[in-house]
Amino acid sequence: MSSGKSLLDKVWNAHAVRELPSGQSQLFVGLHLIHEVTSPQAFAMLRELGLPVRFPERTFATVDHIIPTASQARPLADSLAEEMLVSLEKSTREAGIPFFDPASGKQGVVHVIGPELGLTQPGMTIACGDSHTSTHGAFGAVAFGIGTSQVRDVLATQCLAMARPQLRRIDVTGKLASGVYAKDVILTIIRQLGVKGGVGYAYEYAGPVIKAMTIEERLTVCNMSIEGGARCGYVNPDATTIEYLKGREYSPSGAEWEPATRHWLGMASDADAHYDHIVEIDGSRLAPSVTWGIHPGQSVAIDECLPRLADAPREAQPGLAEAFDYMGLRPGEKIAGSKIDVAFIGSCTNGRISDLREAARVAKTGQVASGVRTLVVPGSQAVAREAEAEGLPEIFRSAGFDWREAGCSMCLAMNPDKLVGRELCASSSNRNFKGRQGSPTGRTLLMSPAMVAAAAIRGEVTDVREVI
């Protein structure tokens, strides 16, 4: 047996308040993020129990899912959305919870603003009523998506009852080729390990490809851990992490900065840490990936043929047939050349400044194809300001793209941004589920932001390497 500890071990041990009779751990939650969709009922439950918010200074709120991206002006046109926003305003005001609303200039997708404000830090436990909370693992935090009853638990006690997951290390070796992005890495991982391959596990992403990634790229990888079934995913903190955190609003500063960085680096997994499972993926062999089906594990490389039913195990065939039927695609064909109706660039997966820069680089090469509707949605107001300072909105607009305001937008279509009918959408988001983008029969192809921009310009799914 090795004696070293993994980051998961270290974070878990530091936050364990006690062992529960159920055998689970009572874990202290260092950072709790809330938004308008999954918290109103939690506050209602709390009021019903007559309990206060125990650590209001450790909870931060924003509005992202329902916010329109055409105009954030109040009152919101959708009265249900307005009601949710009012509910969150009231609950946060009463509890003394900071609320990054549109007027604050700090509003955005919850998983975009946590990192950019410096709220997300290595060695923390983080919880949010949103499955993509795994995103924050990019900093070496242990971050869980939770349901509304658990949001209530965290508000009331700042704790969660959790069973410690097993740990799988995923080593991505080699070096990514040009035109291959973090999105392609995570789509490939999910394809290889399966959408339920991660059940019972935390994923530790490691190896030269991950090591070479920027924080924003690591955020993309960790974001989709949940699509692989993992409870959370993380990258060990290193110099890249520290460099990113320096000078952020909520980062430690002054005399605290140096000891904080030492502490953070010390949270990384020891060289002799124990892993329940290790897998290796050759990053040098990756190509741009595109999903073709109805879950994120159903993807192909852009130059690869769609699977044939006969080649799949018998028990997998009904699922494949259902996916082909819904998507209107044929086994054995190539995904390149599929005509798209909509191009969506944004989301907690790929709505950060580096994503917009890559998409803009592609947008510069042409004009949006006729008949293609586009949405470019910055992940936060801060991302939008940074993009404006760099002239990105102008690049997008002159290429015919629609530049919008910050929010979750067409990733899950809780606001007015929705597919219509069977529209096919090239999307930089995270889920290609049936009906996910707002039309019950709408169809989604997940890919990197650069690939989405290329598809928008050609009007069809295109290998971005032919464009840049």
């Binding site: 006690r18 125990r54 499955s131 009852a161 059940v199």
Partner: protein, 200 residues
């Protein structure tokens, strides 16, 4: 606010076939525009049901009143929305029997006192076939014995230890249990440098 001990759930079963049924399908996002869970039951599987044009198990009159939903693998994947089990329990389901469950969904179910138990593929397939032939039979999910009993016989089921203990011991409503830690919560927080300050 004490929760009841849940040792067994009995009722008629409804088979819902298909792997990877995500929570967007269980309750489409447009129904999340609400500040209460009331009324979600009628929208459970709304888009799937619409597309099945009446041929969905939830629209089959013979399944009316079923309390146990029998599903395949990776049920409840995707979004963490508790609205999914909230919608299903408002439709009358009190337990889920499946091949496997997504973890956040399973955790949300525990918080509502709804057991999720697993059967191996052969047993589950046999149970589903049997349910489709005889929808009036009683299915019993026994957490204490770790069994699912029906006309197909008594089958051994899997259930996560922590969840099982919480349900059997009546501690599935976690708030009360977590509050019992008292000042130990503040004591744990005080030892975290990002709470108490990074000492030089």
């Amino acid at each position: 606010m004490s929760a009841s001990n849940i040792t067994r759930v009995a009722g008629r079963g409804c088979a819902l076939r298909g792997n990877d049924i995500d929570t967007d399908r269980i309750i489409p996002a447009r129904f999340l525009r609400c500040v209460s869970f009331d009324g979600l039951g009628e929208h459970a599987f709304e888009d799937d049901r619409e597309q099945a044009k009446g041929d969905h198990p939830l629209d089959d009159e013979r399944n009316r009143g079923a309390a146990i939903l029998v599903v395949d693998h990776n049920f409840g994947s995707g979004s963490s929305r508790e609205h999914a089990p909230q919608a299903l329990t408002r439709r009358g389901f009190k337990a889920f029997v499946g091949g496997s469950f997504a973890e956040i969904f399973a955790g949300n179910c525990v918080a509502l006192g709804l057991p999720c138990v697993t059967l191996d593929d052969d047993d589950r397939s046999q149970l589903m076939d049997s349910l489709e032939l005889d929808r009036n039979q009683e299915v019993v999910v026994d957490l204490e014995a770790r069994t699912v009993t029906s006309r197909s016989g008594r089958m051994t089921c899997g259930v996560a230890d922590g969840a099982r203990q919480q349900l059997l011991g009546g501690s599935w409503d976690a708030t009360a249990v977590l509050l019992e830690a008292g000042e130990a919560i503040e004591a744990t927080a005080a030892k975290l440098p990002y709470v108490s300050g990074y000492a030089p």
